[in-house]
């Protein structure tokens, strides 16, 4: 593991918000001004391949970017508000159960699951006339 990779992994793990490749590069450059875009993309591909990070679209609420987060033990999904852009996470045992059920019924060996929802959050729902 090289210093750059360590840095990038650390940023993904610690970031309070979901970062896309450009955002990750921007944050990384505060520590290492010479780090290159290509290194960011190559590291993302590597981590994704190892199943260490998950890739999200967040319903493409702001463009066709991909966002990344460190894989956690707790399966969860993301809800994106079309009005205010807020991203909420949601976890429940029903989600885990569905996953198990899908695997059992289809014979599919599940490696990655991505559940994303778009709509209006509680506040925006009220605010929208």
């Amino acid at each position: 593991m090289t210093p750059q990779r360590r840095l990038l992994v650390g940023i993904i793990q610690d970031s309070p918000r979901h970062l896309d490749a450009a955002g990750l590069l921007e944050v990384a450059r505060k520590q290492d001004a010479d780090i290159d875009r290509a290194t960011v993309y190559r590291t993302i591909a590597l981590l994704k391949g190892y199943g260490l990070i998950d890739e999200l679209d967040l319903m493409h609420i702001e463009g066709e970017k991909h966002y990344y987060e460190a894989k956690t033990n707790r399966e969860h999904c993301h809800m994106a508000c079309f009005r205010c852009g807020a991203i909420m996470e949601y976890a429940s045992s029903s989600f885990e159960k569905l996953k198990t059920e899908m695997a059992a019924q289809s014979g599919f060996q599940i490696r990655v699951v991505r559940l994303e929802v778009g709509g209006f959050c509680k506040q925006c729902r009220k605010a929208a006339h």
Copy 2:
């Protein structure tokens, strides 16, 4: 509704496989050789805005394209095999239930749901050493 739009909508509804923008354009050109890429993208944006089609990534199994399908009454998700590229659909009442539960618990007004799974299908699971 213009003729081009009618054509594009018809293709999305009838296509047995999921098409991306380029594939949709290709099929459309068999009927109307002059139809342009921009029209395809503009129509997709329109239909998506009206909630008439769903957008899929199919786990980016072949590049960063987006695929489209006409919205159906039956909620379902897609399972993509990393080995053979097969796409399977899966529908169950548990999925519907999860959706209802999410909305109830979070106060979120759900407009679009996207559940995608990546892994290995029954056959490839066996075939893999």
